[in-house]
Symmetry: C2
Subunit: 193 residues, 2 copies
């Protein structure tokens, strides 16, 4: 069993992923973490905002670790993108449309109200973009084109999650998959020009 501090961060990350930042109360966090109430402020003197910033970073790092597992074994980049979107759709159905992006909800909630949390979200998105660009450049695409594709893939994925969760349907992920695979294949065929 991980230590108390770690349990608090992990419980926060899960609650924030499912219901967002504002709806997640400190009482709910310590209950989910099976931690004494005072321990939250002991480990995080800045309270919920400081804790959430760390939880956002943890979620971002965990998802970043998925990238090599999904992309590196598949030589065909279009097929890897397809597998990623299809896997996301399957997981969404399996979790009753609850488990999509771990930070999109909080990103929208805080972008105009908490600069520390906006920065935490921005750092995660930047890390995902950088990791994606690195992979596409390694496959021979120029950096600018690689960045355009990765930003497009993440945007299409995030927006599809919004529609899928609200409409309780994976249609938008299927559509987004076609949209981005088309762009990836066109870029590879033209060598990124």
């Amino acid at each position: 069993m991980p230590d108390t501090r770690q349990r608090i961060v992990e419980a926060s990350a899960e609650l924030i992923r499912n219901q967002g930042y504002a709806a997640t109360g400190v009482k709910q966090i310590v209950a989910a973490a099976r931690a004494p109430f005072g321990s939250l402020y002991h480990f995080f003197p800045g309270g919920k905002e400081e804790l959430a910033a760390e939880a956002i970073g943890l979620s971002g790092a965990l998802y970043l670790e998925l990238l090599p597992a999904v992309f590196d074994p598949v030589p065909d980049l279009g097929a890897a993108v397809r597998a990623f979107f299809s896997g996301a759709a399957e997981h969404l159905r399996a979790t009753d449309y609850a488990d999509a992006c771990p930070i999109a909800t909080v990103a929208l909630e805080v972008s105009s109200t908490s600069e520390p949390l906006r920065r935490a979200c921005a750092t995660v998105f930047d890390s995902w973009i950088d990791a994606g660009v690195e992979r596409l450049v390694a496959r021979g695409l120029p950096e600018a084109k690689a960045r355009e594709l990765v930003v497009g893939v993440i945007a299409a994925l995030e927006g599809a999650f919004v529609l899928c969760r609200a409409l309780r349907s994976t249609e938008a992920l299927t559509v987004a998959e076609e949209l981005v695979v088309g762009a990836v294949e066109a870029a590879l065929a033209s060598g990124g020009d």
Copy 2:
């Protein structure tokens, strides 16, 4: 000056658009609406949830009214989509990255926690999709292809908003614009096959 009930709904719609549902308190709503506290429960016996459902519907209807103004005067559909994304990027910069989609934040917050609010968001997304499909079908695209394009445009737009707000950059909207304009033009060129 609109009546008290209308002011409460409009104030709620604006607060929810900027900071989401959970962060918006009833005290904040009545203050923004310059309404007596009791009036909220007088008009909305179901409290914040009932009020938010109506505010979501109002926001959705207002944005739906923008569609004819943006799309109908422009004969070239690709150009209309470009104008729409560029306009969204300009507006995002002008509002310091605050004013994007009026319902995406609440959609992500409530999709797994409030079925009445999820349904309110789903009704809005469905109305946007239907209005877009109607326009594309009127321009000669088969319905299935029209729906695919509209869902793709909304997904790319919503996801770009997430990235733009968190990263305080309009890059993702520019990328999303290229992605969807390419798909729209390819569909028109092939007659939607």
